[in-house]
């Protein structure tokens, strides 16, 4: 049975996941420098141990209501090919093993489905898997 690991995290009550091979680290929220004239979901750039890394707010990207950051707020630092990107989420929950056969496609969902790779089912939990490549596209400037 083929399986892979994901980093699971939450936006409100919903659970999402990213393939762990794309995740470099998970950081606490820190000083963010706003970048003028960037898309609204780009919160700015942070100093990640000497590397200037852009961060986006996943809530804004997925058209959720924005909430204030709390002590649980985390930045998931992801990397795909040459692009490094921090993604702000409400809280991280787990690292999970997902069997490939337990993934359904996400077409049944409405909204911004282009960002969704599929829905993973795990002991009654439903986790939306994100498509990082799509997330990293900056189309709506």
């Amino acid at each position: 049975m083929e399986s892979f690991k994901i980093v699971a995290f939450k936006l409100g009550e919903e659970e999402y996941g990213l393939d762990i091979t794309n995740v470099q680290s998970i950081e606490r929220i820190q000083q963010i420098t706003r970048v003028p004239n960037a898309p609204h979901y780009v919160k700015g750039v942070i100093n990640l141990r000497g590397t200037v890394t852009p961060v986006i707010d996943l809530r804004a990207k997925l058209d959720f209501d924005c909430t204030d950051y709390t002590k649980d707020t985390r930045v998931i630092i992801t990397k795909n090919e040459e692009i490094q990107l921090g993604i702000i989420v409400d809280r991280t929950s787990d690292v999970l093993d997902i069997a490939k056969e337990n993934i359904e496609n996400a077409t049944s969902l409405s909204g911004n489905t282009e960002f969704f790779e599929g829905i993973a089912k795990l002991n009654g939990r439903l986790i939306i898997l994100l498509n990082l490549e799509e997330l990293m596209k900056t189309t709506n400037y």
């Binding site: 420098t33 003028p36 590397t51 990107l85």
Partner: protein, 669 residues
């Protein structure tokens, strides 16, 4: 080490050797009788061949091998250098360069070299070209007995006069020996210390490829006694038997008449060759250095800037706690880290020579092509620049030099008519000044014709007829840099595609530099490039807009001033001030960057204005306060955020915060 690591080393070293060969070939062309130069070239070519064969690039190895054969003839004075031979060798080097580039780009280094190989063979032996195939058969059929030709006999004869002996040595290796080529190589090493190897059977290449059965023979010239040689050779392990037979005396007498002639030709004698060889190797002490991946230096710089941030924090803690010991330690740390920073920055600096030394060769070829006589003078090749700048500066310089040769310098005929020296002069000069490095390309050609530039400019719509009357000379010359401009009446291969100079300008500006041109009609023109010392560290002015900090690079700032609010007037909807007799449009950073206002902001009566310039246009950037100047480490925003308006990058401040760097050029259009 992985194959790839070797490959990288191979490519780097091959380039070094090729550069060396090119340099020496140029020297040789100027001084064809100097055999020590041929020796130098031969050495480089030989190493290159060895490396290529080890890495399995057969084509490269075999081409180099053929070139080496020709060089061998040259250094033994069996051939005299003619300009055809030089051209063929140059072409050959070009081919090798192509192959190496191909390998670097992931290819297999294959090129169609039959033609050049044929030409090389033809040099070696005009008649041999006909029966190439037969030759191969002959070689394998050759017996172990060394057959000496007249030339070798003459060399032997000559050497004997100098107190040398000629020995025919036959070395037999142990049958159990696994790596025969290595043993043979060791034997050769010993022999080369003892004297000079004239000939081997089978040929050296074949021996290196283990193409022999246990035994091979060598013809050696040496001042040593036969027993000594035998003893030394037997010291090499796995050598079973060594036979040393003195030659020469009896055979040397064969045909005196022929020999005398040959000896004359063979001058300078091999013995002198040997001395020169050791002389030149003494002259070039190899500096001790290692190659470091530039990425590693970047990483080092990154780590270091983190250290600086921590140092800043420690300074703050020391101040707050009033601990003397801590303060002292932090002060010491500050001193050390300043030195460390200098060192790290220095490591990235390389002499501009790396770019310059490809030009002599280029000029030679271009001069031939254009049928002009050109002398290239290089000054200040030791001037150092950041490696990143070095990598980028090559193409613009090539362009400028081609321009100078093609458009700048007159034809030889015209030059003579003008009463100028027949040989045109191009000066390539680099020097430091302040925080910049200047590179100049100067020619003593016909200079830039103002009227010609203007009429072309009007024709191309770069400038209007009315404007053209009032332009200063330097403004006219700067038209050359506008796109779609070429003054050459004839479009030639070398330049004049009309894309030249504006591309050069864009490139230089992208490096944070500037380019200008000056010229005197009839006496020549001079292109001057100004470059920042380093791309990774820049001087910047830190400014604040509401609560946000930005950095403005120093090189674009003209002046910082403050004006009363009522001095600002509105012209055609654009806010402007009058400053030093000039109308300067204002740009409110808070507006263009949509900076949220600080809560307790009060209406101020004075505005801080940073006046920035691009070319001869200026604008004033309105800021809230000026924090001061600082050296900042330039960082990219990464590939996620691209094409941001008026932001060129970011830097990390002492407190760990990220500040964005303003690209003020984009405010000026």
């Amino acid at each position: 080490m992985e194959y790839n690591d070797f490959l990288e080393m191979f490519i780097e070293e091959s380039k070094d050797h090729l550069q060396n060969i090119n340099d020496e070939l140029l020297k040789l062309e100027a001084d064809p009788d100097n055999t020590s130069i041929v020796n130098e070239i031969f050495r480089s070519a030989h190493t290159l061949k060895g490396m290529a064969a080890t890495m399995g690039f057969e084509d490269l190895a075999s081409l180099t091998h053929d070139m080496e054969n020709v060089l061998d003839l040259l250094r033994n004075s069996k051939l005299t250098i003619t300009s055809e031979i030089m051209d063929i060798i140059f072409t050959c080097v070009d081919f090798i360069e192509k192959m190496v580039t191909n390998i670097e780009q992931g290819g297999n280094g294959k090129e169609n070299v039959t033609d050049i190989v044929f030409q090389l063979k033809k040099i070696q032996d005009p008649s041999l070209a006909m029966n190439l195939e037969n030759q191969a058969i002959n070689e394998t059929a050759a017996t172990a007995q060394l057959v000496m030709d007249e030339f070798q006999l003459s060399v032997i004869n000559e050497a004997i006069k100098f107190g040398n002996h000629a020995y025919q040595i036959s070395v037999t290796l142990d049958e159990q020996c696994v790596m025969k080529a290595v043993r043979a190589y060791m034997v050769f090493q010993v022999l080369e210390e003892l004297g000079e190897v004239l000939q081997t059977n089978p040929p050296v290449e074949q021996i290196e490829e283990e193409g022999f059965n246990d035994t091979f023979s060598i013809l050696l010239l040496s001042p040593q006694e036969a027993q000594d040689i035998q003893k030394q050779l037997l010291n090499v392990s796995e050598v079973k038997q060594v036979l040393v037979v003195e030659q020469g005396n009896q055979q040397g007498k064969i045909d005196e008449e022929v020999l005398v002639k040959e000896v004359e030709k063979a001058d300078p004698t091999p013995k002198q060759n040997g001395n020169e060889e050791s002389d030149s190797s003494k002259k070039k002490p190899r500096s001790k250095s290692i190659r470091v991946d530039i990425d590693k230096l970047d990483q080092l710089m990154n780590l270091f800037s983190e250290l600086i941030i921590d140092r800043g924090r420690l300074e703050q803690i020391a101040q707050n706690t009033h601990l003397n010991e801590l303060t002292e330690t932090v002060e010491h740390m500050t001193r050390i880290s300043t030195n460390l920073q200098e060192l790290i920055l220095n490591m990235r600096m390389v002499p501009v020579e790396q770019v310059f030394n490809r030009f002599p060769r280029m000029i030679r070829d271009l001069a031939k092509e254009l049928n002009k006589k050109i002398e290239l003078i290089i000054e200040g090749a030791e001037t150092e620049l950041d490696r990143t700048v070095i990598d980028e500066i090559g193409d613009p310089l090539v362009h400028l030099i081609r321009n100078a040769l093609d458009h700048g310098l007159e034809t030889t005929k015209d030059r003579i008519e003008c009463g100028k020296p027949e040989e045109g002069k191009v000066v390539l000069k680099a020097y430091h000044s302040g925080n910049h490095v200047f590179i100049e390309v100067k020619d003593d050609g016909k200079g830039i014709n103002r009227e010609k530039v203007l009429s072309k400019g009007i024709e191309r719509g770069v400038v209007t007829l009315e404007d053209s009357q009032n332009l200063t000379d330097s403004q006219v010359y700067s038209l050359l840099f506008s796109s779609g401009f070429s003054t050459a009446d004839k479009i030639s291969d070398i330049s004049g595609r009309g894309v030249g100079l504006d591309v050069v300008k864009t490139k230089i500006e992208s490096l944070g530099g500037a380019i200008s041109v000056d010229s005197t009609l009839g006496q020549g023109s001079i292109f001057q490039i100004q470059l920042p010392l380093s791309l990774s560290i820049i001087y910047a002015m830190l400014i604040k807009v509401a609560n946000e900090t930005y950095a403005i690079p120093f090189n674009s700032i003209v002046e910082i001033t403050n004006v009363a609010r009522d001095e600002v007037v509105t012209l055609h909807g654009q806010k402007v001030i009058q400053f030093r007799e000039q109308v300067v449009p204002l740009i409110y950073l808070q507006e263009v960057f949509h900076v949220p206002s600080a809560p307790n902001e009060t209406e101020v009566q004075e505005l801080f204005i940073v006046i920035v310039r691009k070319g001869d246009k200026t604008v004033g950037l309105v800021v809230d306060s000026v924090l001061g100047q600082q050296e900042v480490v330039l960082k990219s925003l990464g590939s996620y955020l691209t094409n941001l308006y008026a932001i060129s990058g970011a830097t990390i401040l002492g407190n760990g915060e990220v500040a964005l760097i303003i690209d003020s050029n984009q405010f000026i259009n």
